[in-house]
Amino acid sequence: MPSYVTRHKPRQKYSWVGSPLLNRKLHLQTYKELCVRGEADSTEMLIQVGQCVLIEGDSDEEPYVAKLTELFEDDYKPHSKKRARVQWFVRFSEIHPSKQHLLGRKPEAQEIFWYDHPSCDSIVSVETIIGTVQVVALALDESPPAQLKHKGFFVRMSWDTKKFWPLSAELLAELGRRGDSPKSQNPVQAQTKTAESPAWTTSEHAVGRIESSHSASKSRQAAARPATPGARKRLELAGLLKTPNTRKARQTSCAASASLGIAKRKMASSTASSPSKRSSPDEAREDKSSSECRMVLRARIPVTSTTEMSLGITLTPSRRAQRPSVTPSINLTPENIKKRETKEPEAHTEEVSTPHRSQRKSSLLTLNRIKQQLRYLDCKENDEKEEEFVPGAGDSGSSSEEEEEGDVSTSSLPRKSRRRQDKNLQTATQPSLQTPSKTPKKTPKPRAPRHATPQIRSRSLAAQEPATVLEEARLRLHVSVVPESLPCREQEFQDIYSFVESKLLDGTGGCMYISGVPGTGKTATVHEVIRCLQQAAQTKDVPPFQYVEVNGMKLTEPHQVYVQILQKLTGQKATASHASELLAKQFCSGQAPWEATVLLVDELDLLWTHKQDVLYSLFDWPTHKEARLVVLTIANTMDLPERIMMNRVSSRLGLTRMCFQPYTHSQLKQILVSRLRHLKAFEDDAIQLVSRKVAALSGDARRCLDICRRATEICELSRQKDGTQGPVTVAHLMAAVDEMSSSSYITAIRNSSVLEQGFLRAILAEFRQSGLEEATFQQIYNQHVALCRMEGLPYPTMSETMAVCSRLGSCRLLLVEPSRNDVLLRVRLNVSQDDVLYALKEE
C-alpha cells in the first residue's frame, strides 16, 4: 500500500519565496524560504531556513534528519537548481556498528546525534526534502520530553565519527533558541498561503517560525510519509566543502545566542543568563540552557500534541556543518534526468491550515535583525568556502526510480546494483572526500564515483525458506551457519577469552598465536570470543575496546594491512607507508586517542615480507604500554614463528601459543548432532560413519559438513526416484563420500578412446623396457607402432598420436613438456603405473 501511494505521489513544484540575496562571487542566489506546491491539489508547504527537515535517505523508515542552514540556487546543476545546505543529524543506527558501543548505553528511540564531522557533504537538492520535523536539544541529564510522541527527535550528544560528546554550550543555545521564539507562546503558528495571497516579505518570516499546522488527517499523512518505501533518496552531491574556518561563525552564533537569551528572558520569563556570559561550556551544558530547553518544551506541548509538523531552528552554520559522503554521485544519463523530471513524485504538499499569527511584533523585529546579521556573515563565509567547491556537473545526481524501472521494464542491461547511500559507511566512501578535487567542472569525462557504496543489489524475489526436513537440515549444515556456541572448542574458547579479558582489564597489550589445520574452528572461536567480550563491554564487565580484523588472504600485498587497520580504527585512508607511520605514532607514543584495541590477524603467514617489517610492527606495537593493543594471530602451521620469522620478530610474538587440534570423530559427531538438534534427518549410523571418515582423513569440519550436505541432496534425489521417505542413510553418505573424495583418474582412463588407451599401454611398455619413468614421444610412438603390429591393427599416424598425447597431457594424466620439442618431448605418467594397469585391465 505505501509503495502505491508513493508511486502516485503528485508532482510537486518548488519555488522560492522572497527575493534572492545575491552572492556575487559564486553567482549564487540565496533564499530564506522554500515553497513546495503540489500540482494535483493546490496545497503548499513552506520550509524555512533554520527549520529541521527530514531528507530522503536510503531507508524509507528512517529518513535523514537535518537542519536547513541555507537555501540557494545553483545554476551549474542542469536539472535541479534549487539546493539546500544542511547540518546533519545522525541516528544511532547510522553510526558505524563497530563504533556504536562507544555510546556506552542504549540509545533511546528518538535520540539523534548532532553530526560533527568536518568533511562531509552538506548540500542536497531541495527535492529531497520530505518535510519538517521537530528536534529538541537536551542537556545530558535531561530526559526526553514526553510530548515528543513518535514524531520528533531529541539531541543530547554530538558525534564526530570517533566519540560522542555532549552538546556544546553554543549548540545547545542555538538549538534551544528555537524554543524562545515567539512561537513558544503561540505555538501553533502556521500560515495559510493560498495562491492568491501576496508573497511574504522575507523579513517577516525569516524570523517567524512558520509552521504548518494541519488538519488531523493531513498531519497523520505527513507523519506516515517517511515510512513509505517510495521516499527514496534524491540527494545530490553538489561538491565538497572543506572544513570551514569558523571562528567567525562561532562568534556570531555566540552573539546571537546572547542576544537571543535576552529576548528569551523577556518572553519565556526564565531566569537564564545568556550563554555568552558563561565561563565554561561544560557548566552551560549542565544547567542553564538545559533548563531553558525544558521550559521550552513544556511550553510547546500544545504544538506537538496537535501537530506533528516542523519545528524550525534558526542556526548559523556551526563549526563543522558537514557530514560524510551521504550522497554517492551517480552518473546521470539523459533518460534518468527525464525520469526524474517526469516521474519523480515529490513530497506531499500539505495543506496549510489556519494561521496562528500572533507574535509580538517587537520581538519579531529584534530577532529579525539579528538574523539578518547572521545571514550576512554566513554568506560571507560561504563565499570563502565555496571557492573550493566543485559542483559535480553532469555526473552527479540520483536516480532513485531506476530500480523501479528495472523491475518493470525489460531493459537490456539491468542495473546490477542498487544505488544506495549509506551514511554510516564511512570506510569506503569517506577517504575520497578528504582530497578536495580541483578538477574544473567543465570536464565531463567519466570519473570514478567518489561515493560509491559497496553493495550487491538485493534480490527481487524473497528467498525461499526450507520446506522439508532435508532442506532444513541442509540449511543448518551449511558452513556459513555459525552456531550459538561452538561445540568441542570450550577449552580453547576459555583460554582465548581469559587471555584477552585479562589484557583488557589490566590495560596492557599482548600477542597470541593460534595455529591449526584448516577447518578446525580457529577463526570461528576467536569471533565468538570477541562477540562475548563485546557483550561484556556493553554491560561494563570489561573496558570498552575496538575490534579490528584483517585477513592476510584478503590483502593484495602485506603492507596493505596498515591501510586496513587504520581505516577500520579511524576511518582515515592513507597510503601504506603513511598509515604505518600514523599507526606507529599512535600506538607507540601513547597518544592513542581510542581505547583498547583487539586486532585479529588471520592468515598470518601471508604477511611475511623479506624484511619482515609488517610482522615486526604488528608484534612490536603491543609491547608499548600505552598502546593497549591485543593482537591475536591465526595461521595454519604450528612452527610458523620458528620457521619464517627472524628472532627479533618471533621473540616479540612471545610464547602465548595455542594449537587447535583436528577434530576427532567423536567431536565431529557432536558438531553434527548439535547442528541437527531436533531434526530427524540423518540416521545415527550415517553420522557416525561420516565423522569417522572425515576424522581419519583430515578432521576438517568444513569437509564433514559439506559431505553431509551432499548426502542430503543424494537422499532427496533417491526419494524423488522411488518415492521413499526416510532419513539420510549410510548408503547415501557413502555415495557422497565417494563422489567427493574419489580420484577421477581411473574413470578418465576408462572413458578415453581406444587410441588413448593404446598410447598409455605403449607408455607402460616403454617404461618397463627402459626401466625409467620417463620417455620421449618418439620412443613411445615406436613402441605403440610395434604393439599395433603385434595385434595386427592399423597403426596411427604421428600427428594423430601427437594429438592423443597432448590431450592426455591437458587433463594431466600425463606430464608432458611443451610441444615445441615435437617428437623429442619427454613424457611421464601422472598416475601410478598400477592404476593405469588396473584401469586398462578392467575393460
Binding site: 570514478a448 553493495q455 543489489r457 528467498a463 584478503k554 559431505i707 615406436n782 600427428s799 594429438a803
Partner: protein, 431 residues
C-alpha cells in the same frame, strides 16, 4: 533422377542447409545435451538452490576438452533463467585465459556486477581498493536479502596460478560464510585440479565435482552423428528436409560409414572432432550433388587423419629428401645422437660419388641452403640456441622425423629417383 529433377529450384535451400549445419558444428556449446543427465541434474539443482534459497555453493566441472562442460553450464543457466526471474540472479563470467591475474579479474567482476565504482564500462582505482570494495560489497549481503551471484570461472586451473590464490580464497570464503549467496562454478580439464589448490583454499571449497568423461559407446556415437546431421523439422522446404534426413539415416546404416566413424571414434571420442569431420564432409556437397555420400565422409576422414609431416616431406626437393635420408642413416649409425651439417654433407657426398646416377653433385653452399630450409620447416631442430659465434656447419641438430614417417613419405613421393629410394631402404649396404 529424382534428385536432379529437384536441383533447379534448390540452391537457396542448399545455402540454408550449409548455414544451419555449420552453425551447429561451430557453436557446439548450444547443441543438445546427451548422456549427461545425472550431471545436469546435479548442477541445475545446485543452481536452483542458490537462486531460490540463497544457499552458497561451489562446484567444479571437470572433463577433457570437448566433453561439453561449457555446454552443460550454458544449458543449466538457460534453464535457470527461464524458471527464475532473471532479475533475481546475477552472473559473472570469467575466463582464466583472459583474466590472467587477480587485478584484471577483480575489475571484470566489478564491471559485470555493475557495482557503484563502475563508470561507464571502466573500473578505476587501485587493486587494493577494488578488492576491499568488492569484499565489502559481498560482505554486506546476507542469505535472504541479497541477490545471489553465480560465478562461472572458465579455465579454472589458471586461476589457481594467481598469486596467493587470493581471488579463489575470497570467493570460496564468501561461499562458506553468511554473506551474499554465491555459486562458484569452475570449469577445467585438469583432473589434478584439487592438488593445485592451496590447503586453505581447498578446505573452503565444497569438494563437489561434476565429471564429464565422454562416457558413451559407439552406438551412441552413431546416434549423435545422425542427430548432428539431421535437419530440423522447421526447415522451410519439408520435402527436401525429409529427403536429406532419409539420406542421413541411410548413411548411418552404411557399412563404410560405420567403418569411418569407428576409426574416428577409436582415435577421438569428443564431439568437437566429430564436428570437424562433418564440417569437412559438408563442404564437399555442391548444388549439383546436394546429398552427403559415404565417399565424402571417407575423404574427410582421410584429410583429418593425415600425417602433417609426411605432407611436408612430399613437397621437398630431391636434394632435401637426400639430406633427410642421410640424416636417417646417421641416426641409425650413431643411435639417435645429434649430428651437424658437416656430417650430413659428407654422407651426401659419399652417396653422390658412389651410388648416384641421377642426383647432381651440388656445391656446398647450395646444400647448406637446403639444410637451412629443412630447419625452417622444423623437420630438424638445433639442440641449443643458435649463437652468433658458432659456425653453422657444426651446430648440432636432431631430426624430428621418424624412420617410418620417412619411408612412408618416400613411398608416396612423386617421381622419386630409384637410386634415392634404394639408398633410403638399403641402409648400410652402399658402403
Amino acid at each position: 533422377a529424382s534428385i536432379y529433377s529437384y536441383t533447379p529450384n534448390y540452391s537457396p535451400y542448399f545455402c540454408q542447409v550449409q548455414r544451419i549445419l555449420r552453425e551447429r558444428f561451430c557453436h557446439s556449446t548450444h547443441g543438445e545435451l546427451f548422456g549427461v543427465q545425472v550431471q545436469y541434474k546435479h548442477l541445475i539443482e545446485l543452481l536452483k538452490r542458490t537462486a531460490i534459497h540463497g544457499e552458497s555453493n561451489s562446484v567444479l566441472i571437470i572433463g577433457p576438452r570437448g566433453s561439453g562442460k561449457t555446454m552443460l553450464i550454458n544449458h543449466a543457466l538457460k534453464e535457470l533463467m527461464e524458471i527464475e526471474v532473471s532479475e533475481n540472479v546475477l552472473q559473472v563470467h570469467l575466463n582464466g585465459l583472459l583474466h590472467i591475474n587477480d587485478k584484471i579479474a577483480l575489475k571484470e567482476i566489478t564491471r559485470q556486477l555493475y557495482l557503484e565504482n563502475v563508470v561507464g564500462d571502466k573500473v578505476f582505482g587501485s587493486f587494493a581498493e577494488n578488492l576491499s570494495f568488492l569484499l565489502e560489497a559481498l560482505k554486506k549481503g546476507d542469505r535472504t536479502h541479497s541477490c545471489p551471484v553465480i560465478f562461472v570461472l572458465d579455465e579454472f586451473d589458471l586461476f589457481a596460478h594467481h598469486k596467493n590464490q587470493t581471488l579463489l580464497y575470497n570467493l570460496f570464503d564468501i561461499s562458506q560464510s553468511a554473506q551474499t549467496p554465491l555459486a562458484v562454478i569452475g570449469l577445467t580439464c585438469r583432473l589434478d585440479i584439487l592438488e593445485l589448490l592451496e590447503k586453505r583454499v581447498k578446505s573452503r571449497f565444497s569438494h563437489r565435482q561434476i565429471h564429464l568423461m565422454n562416457s558413451f559407446g559407439f552406438p551412441q556415437f552413431i546416434k549423435i552423428f545422425k542427430e548432428q546431421l539431421s535437419l530440423p523439422a522447421e526447415f522451410p522446404d519439408k520435402v527436401f528436409a525429409e529427403k536429406w534426413n532419409e539420406n542421413v539415416q541411410c548413411l548411418s546404416e552404411d557399412r563404410s560409414v560405420h567403418e569411418v566413424l569407428q576409426k574416428h571414434f577409436n582415435v577421438n571420442k569428443n564431439l568437437r572432432s566429430l564436428h570437424m569431420l562433418l564440417m569437412v564432409a559438408l563442404s564437399r556437397i555442391t548444388v549439383s550433388r546436394p546429398y552427403l555420400t559415404s565417399a565424402d565422409l571417407m575423404e574427410a576422414h582421410q584429410l583429418c587423419s593425415m600425417d602433417s609431416k609426411a605432407n611436408i616431406v612430399h613437397g621437398l626437393s630431391v636434394l632435401e629428401i637426400c639430406l633427410i635420408i642421410a640424416m636417417k642413416h646417421l641416426n641409425d649409425i650413431y643411435e639417435e645422437e645429434p649430428f651437424n651439417f658437416q656430417m650430413v654433407y659428407n654422407e651426401f657426398q659419399k652417396f653422390v660419388q658412389r651410388k648416384a646416377h641421377s642426383v647432381y653433385n651440388f656445391e656446398k653452399p647450395v646444400v647448406m641452403k637446403a639444410f637451412e630450409h629443412l630447419q625452417q620447416l622444423e623437420l630438424i631442430k638445433p639442440m641449443e640456441r643458435t649463437s652468433v659465434n658458432s659456425q653453422k656447419e657444426y651446430q648440432l641438430m636432431k631430426l624430428l622425423l621418424d624412420n617410418t614417417q620417412i619411408m612412408n613419405a618416400l613411398q608416396k613421393y612423386p617421381n622419386c629417383p630409384t637410386d634415392v629410394r634404394q639408398w633410403a631402404t638399403s641402409s648400410l649396404s652402399w658402403l
